[in-house]
Amino acid sequence: MKNAKILAALLGSICLFAGVAQAADTANTPRNSRLDDQTQLPKAPAKPVSQQYFQPPADTDIPNNAFGELVRRGQDLFMNTKALAPEYVGNEMNCVNCHIDRGRKANSAPLWAAYPMYPAYRKKNNKVNTYVERMQGCFQFSMNGKPPTADSEILTALTTYAYWLSTGAPTGKALPGRGFDEPPPPKGGYDIARGKAVYEKQCQLCHGENGEGKKVGVTSVFPALWGKDSYNWGAGMHRINTAAGFIQHNMPLGRGETLSDQEAWDVAAYINSHERPQDPRLVNGSIDETRKRYHADDGVNLYGVVVNGKKLGQGVQ
């Protein structure tokens, strides 16, 4: 059933498709909501029942040479982003939080389905984006930080890791399992109050009563879902449709695809109806202008929307 969902226009992809544009934009580039919005690529094709998802190589296949060393370094960074690249991560997120199983898991925005799709022309910013530029978007929005430079050791290592995971994957061909395979919006819409009930029952145990996540010492174990330690208002995950896809396929951890599409949408709406760090593209200090330019056409999101008497998008420090 899931595979039959056709909603390309609405469906966002995630942090992986969020905001490359921004990092690469020059001040002279004309902007409008169409060009800069965070939306995304068409929906990934359905997986034929008889077929497996693409299988990335095994760790035992990493060669014992300089290339292999960089693959391992990329993997280390991918799993321990905050600890190993603290100057570029402004919150407590690590790449692996959204890209489960070290970027290998289908429908958790696997790197093997992303890497071979770049460089790609995106009409959003009217230019050809490289994979490195795409990752810089992750650092700026999902990690609420400062992107490392394109020729940095960090982005070279992360690129090498993604390239290695894509060994044998066809270039320029959208693979099943790409992105989050988002469920269609429920017929009756989503409900934040119902989402709160789902959250308390299924998510709070790990992510905390206030979405703050859980740590061991200074190390984040369960990521924050809102507040200062979480992704900012510009990240792809701030879209309810995108978060619903991630949640439906991957949450609760190890028990993915147990929540209904409705529950996934409701709880995604609850999570994304909380304050988080400001969209770094804030236009003239105005939430309304920022909504108009970057959020109005960007899937289903609550930036600049009044919820429970409060306009969302204030940001948190």
Binding site: R104, G217, V221, G254
Partner: protein, 244 residues
């Protein structure tokens, strides 16, 4: 009214004689050493060791430094039968709620297990370390450390430390979560009935499916891995990142 009150009062007067300790404040370390007021609540140290670190050879778990709420929950679950164990159930049933609270607090105050932060580990596929650090996502099995914390030091009140526990204890728990499947009769052998899981107290069913989907060999290997981590003599350092 009077008819009711009189027996009630005399009952209250008798109570201190029946439970000599109940009038005093309950002391957790006293319960560890000497047991609860009810003699059926044996001293904890008999099995869990004088230092609270358990007895590895017998599979009695470490309690030292475990979260207070976790210990209290386990005792409540033994009592309610959500966690079955021939030794612990009668003990849990003999402890008063005050004694449970006191002993949970006292064990939580003992030193927590510490594994010194180190460089990123490179586990070999097929090893116990692999399950612990990488999981088996093709079967929806997250790496143990994803919930139990880096090096299995435990996270919050819900996810207890695996480090510091013996291989036998961890193995027994994984087997308790899964039970055994029924085996059909053949011409030469009799049918074996399924044994339902004897531990059913995992929040949101997070552990049961993992234990069911791990192989016997994986259970053994991952239990050995955590038991083999040992324990650092240094105090738990909250300021250093622990790498995955």
């Amino acid at each position: 009214m009077r008819k009711l009150i009189t027996p009630l009062l005399s009952g209250l007067l008798l109570l201190p004689a029946l439970l000599p300790l109940s009038a005093q404040a309950v002391d957790g370390s006293d319960i560890m050493q000497k047991g609860g007021a009810n003699p059926a609540a044996m001293p904890c140290i008999t099995c869990h060791g004088t230092d609270g670190k358990g007895m590895a050879a017998a599979g009695f778990p470490r309690l030292a430094g475990l979260p207070e709420a976790y210990i209290a929950k386990q005792l409540a679950d033994f009592k309610a039968g959500r966690r079955e164990n021939a030794v612990m159930q009668p003990i849990a049933q003999s402890l008063t709620p005050e004694e449970v609270a006191a002993v949970a607090k006292a064990y939580a105050e003992l030193p927590k297990v510490n594994i010194k932060p180190g460089p990123v580990e490179r586990p070999q596929p097929g090893s116990g370390a692999w399950i612990a650090l990488r999981g088996a996502w093709e079967r929806n099995i997250p790496e143990c450390t994803l919930c139990h914390g880096p090096a299995g030091v435990g996270v919050g009140d819900t996810f207890p430390p695996l480090a510091g526990q013996s291989a036998l204890y961890i193995e027994n728990q994984l087997k308790a979560w899964r039970g055994t499947k029924a085996v059909a009769a053949t011409r030469k052998t009799k049918a074996v009935a399924a044994v339902p899981p004897s531990r059913r107290n995992d929040p949101n069913g997070l552990m049961a499916h993992i234990a069911v989907d791990l192989s016997e060999a994986e259970i053994k290997a991952v239990s050995d891995y955590f038991a083999g981590l040992g324990e650092s003599k240094e105090a738990f350092d909250e300021s250093q990142h622990r790498l995955r």
